[in-house]
């Protein structure tokens, strides 16, 4: 396994974990309604979306045509 | 805990005991590093006034240079620096700080029945950035002042003298100051209104400041980004704007105008607010179309984010984008027209009291409408091809900036001067000063429309002899304006030395700042009043409950309690 593959595997596993915890955190935030809570909902959601992007990158879906060293 | 009288609506949110800090006694903390919004407002006014004089002198140098077609006094290179610095100083160091920092700080907290702004320390920092930035800006004359106009388009600004770096730093700093002020004011207006002061009971000046805040903390940041990029390109050679290295000069124009078009509205919406206060007071009539005036400020503010590229019709922008930008620009004329007609309807049938603030307000109506109409011409793509980069543009933006912003500033200073100092100014001299300024202004800038249509380009140190007559006419008229400005400062000094005591409410106005003594006490309101209605119903009883006593008797003594709660 070359370095890039190791990085991708670690990133993939990490992304799954982070995604799961982000969703759990988001669920905890959901009933709250303060300004800080609402902003946190948006930001946690975007972080979860970031994890999706990482997964896509790990499988080479993005960027088009592979990429990466 | 006191309870509210029956029938008094409570505010959506209000600071109960906000900012209870003892009045400082040392000179430094009282007048220099004060956290009192009123003192900071006056500090802004003095600093802005000094910069106004410097930038005004630069303007007179420009006009003197143009007395002769061959250039009367300056070399072409120096001339470039002079007009660049005139524009930069007037926009960022005179009009914006005076309309937001000065009047916003002095008037707005009192008008919403607050004791101070939301973040007094932030206010202090925001103010002190301003003179420092001003000194940096003007010190660029020592190393070679920027010479690409106040817009500093690359690639010329990339090749400009070293002072351009100082220009970047100065404008960046003043941008930070604006951002702080914008955030501060928005939170103040949103959170600190007196009980009962719903949004539709706010004075229109507060509405105007409210509509300006998003421009301050959103648009200004874009300018900061553009300036930082220009700075690192000049200093570290990082390619953003240099076309030879793959950059794009048009990129600067996008980023710059994304700020600077909203900045035009930063420079006029608070002026609208001042006019909306002055007109009903001196017409002794409720303002016509309160909600329409209030909402049109917000509409202008929002629309102003989507019109910036009308400055760039001739810059090689994508052609299909020109039409939407032209249309949205013209759409802004609708909320502006709503204001103009509401103001005229406010005057209609009023019992008009021709004092200097009202003279300036009506002068504003005339000159600003005129400037707005020429703006409408410039927004039309085909006309813009002809007029872009000519004196027509110079005439247009001086009509909106001097005839709009500065006229409203004069109106505001005359109007609130008794509140700031407790003294009246000399009314006869004030009216004379108005006529000098108004006639001098129109005679200076009206001929520039004709010069521009005839094809005289802006930003030139010499010009074709056929334009000489109107240039000389404009230059000599500008000396009349200068005389008016000198008289203005004389009036202020005279008022401080010899002015009659004004009492708390010399104009019989109805907004909250006139309900406290002049000059106002440190706390503004010993008791925060409750508000029952919008302030413009002349003829009805005042819509306030819980004011300490009759106007004039209010005396808020400093409390010994410092901020009692750790606010973490």
């Amino acid at each position: 396994m070359d370095l890039a593959t190791i990085e991708k595997v670690v990133a993939f596993v990490g992304a799954l974990i982070v995604f799961a915890f982000a969703l759990v955190g988001l669920r905890g935030e959901w009933p709250k309604n303060g300004l800080d809570d609402n902003v946190t909902k948006v930001l946690l959601g975007l972080m979860a979306f970031g994890c999706v992007l990482v997964v896509l990158a790990c499988f080479g879906v993005l960027p088009h045509g592979g990429g990466g060293a | 805990m006191a309870t509210v009288a029956p029938g008094v609506p409570t505010g959506p949110y209000h600071a109960v005991l906000d900012h209870i800090h003892p009045e400082p006694t040392s000179f430094i903390r009282k007048y220099v590093f004060s956290i009192d919004a009123k003192v900071i407002g006056i500090q802004y006014m003095i600093t802005g006034g000094i910069f106004f004089v410097i930038a005004g002198l630069l303007a007179e140098i420009i006009r003197t240079q143009l007395l002769s077609p061959h250039g009367a006094i300056l070399s072409a290179a120096t001339y470039n620096s002079v007009y660049s610095m005139h524009g930069s100083a007037m926009v960022w160091f005179v009009v914006i700080p005076l309309l937001t920092g000065a009047f916003g700080n002095f008037v707005m907290p009192m008008q919403i029945g607050a004791r101070d702004v939301a973040f007094p320390w932030l206010n202090l920092v925001a103010f002190w950035i301003f003179p420092v930035a001003g000194v940096i800006l003007f010190s660029s004359f020592l190393v070679g002042a920027p010479d690409a106009g106040w817009t500093e388009y690359p690639p010329i600004s990339l090749q400009g003298p070293p002072g351009t770096n100082l220009w970047c730093i100065a404008v960046f700093l003043i941008g930070i100051s604006s951002t702080m002020t914008g955030i501060n004011f928005l939170v103040t207006i949103y959170k600190m209104r007196a009980p009962g002061m719903t949004f539709t009971r706010m004075p229109l000046f507060v509405w105007a400041q409210f509509a300006t805040t998003p421009l301050l903390f959103i648009a200004t940041t874009a300018l900061g980004a553009a300036l930082a990029a220009l700075f690192i390109e000049r200093v570290f050679g990082v390619p953003f704007y240099d076309p030879k290295r793959g950059g794009s000069p048009v990129l600067w124009q996008h980023m710059f105008w994304f700020y600077s078009h909203p900045a035009v509205y930063i420079m006029i919406i608070p002026g609208f607010g001042i006019i909306s206060e002055v007109l009903p007071t001196f017409a002794r009539k409720p303002i016509f179309g309160y909600k329409m005036i209030a909402f049109s400020s917000v509409a202008i503010s929002l629309l102003s984010f989507s019109v910036w590229a009308h400055h760039m019709f001739t810059s090689g922008m994508v052609p299909w984008l020109q039409l939407p930008f032209m249309i949205i620009t013209m759409v802004i004329a609708i909320p502006t027209g709503v204001k103009i007609f509401s103001w005229m309807a406010t005057l209609w049938g009023g019992s008009i009291n021709w004092k200097t603030p009202l003279l300036y307000a009506t002068g504003f109506l005339i000159t600003f409408t005129y400037g707005g109409l020429t703006g409408f011409f410039l927004a039309a793509v085909p006309l813009d091809y002809h007029e872009h980069g000519t004196y027509f543009v110079v005439a247009h933006f001086h009509y909106v900036l001097y005839g709009g912003s500065i006229m409203s500033l004069f109106a505001g200073i005359y109007y609130w001067w008794p509140k700031m100092t407790g003294r009246m100014y000399n009314e006869k001299l004030g009216q004379l000063q108005f006529w000098l300024t108004f006639i001098g202004f129109n005679a200076t800038f009206t001929p520039m429309h004709w010069l521009g249509l005839l094809g005289m380009p802006r930003r030139v140190a010499t010009y074709d002899p056929q334009f000489q007559f109107w240039n000389q006419f404009a230059s000599i008229s500008s000396y009349v304006m200068a005389l008016g400005t000198v008289l203005f400062f004389y009036i202020l000094f005279d008022s401080i030395r010899n002015g009659k005591k004004s009492g708390p409410n010399p104009w019989g106005a109805r907004t909250l700042e006139w309900m406290v003594s002049s000059p106002p006490p440190y706390y503004n309101f010993k008791k925060i009043p409750a508000v029952l209605a919008a302030p413009y119903d002349f003829g009805n009883p005042l819509p306030y409950l819980g004011l300490e006593a009759a106007p004039g008797a209010t005396e808020a003594t400093p409390t010994s309690a410092s901020h009692p709660v750790p606010t973490y």
Partner: protein, 212 residues
Amino acid sequence: MAVSVATHGHDAHDDHGGHDDDIIYQETRDMRLMGFVLFLVSDVVLFSSYIFAYIYLRNSIQPNWPPIVDGHQLPRLDTAFAAFNSVVLFGSGVTMHYALESWKHANKGRFNLFMWLTIFLGLDFLGGQGYEYAHAQIGGWSGNIFGASFFTLTGMHGIHVFLGVCFLFALWLQTQRGVYTEHRFFGLTAGTLYWHFVDVIWVVLFFLFYLW
């Protein structure tokens, strides 16, 4: 979040009971929260401006991206490593969220654990950025428009991360000094929001520079 206390004519001389204290704290806290969120909005505009610049410059030389400099094509950036580094930063965002939650539930031990995990992951990300900077073969900061936009945007983001780490460390010190209580912890709220904001900016930058 609104405090529905109806007062008018409240005298500045009143002495302040515990109840008043809570009201003042709550109102001051809400003002500062709003101000802080507006500051973040303003910061978003700062990043958006450079992102606009990047997209604008990139579009001006489509379809050759990365650009061709002196006759040879610049390589793409290292997506695999960036994916790894991104997970580090997103992870730190989630740990920060749980740190704040632990504080709200008065669980000091868990708070300390998550706080240090966050700071550690933040530093790890910064180290990763250093590695990335050392290995990116795109001509340096001042070489071409790719380098200019990449290093300016990620550098600005890196400065934000660095300031965020300092911020979090200062907050942790304050918690040790007993500045915050179970009910009054606005600094921690602000720190968390700031840290989340920095993470979310990276989501956008990660997409723009590595996946697009």
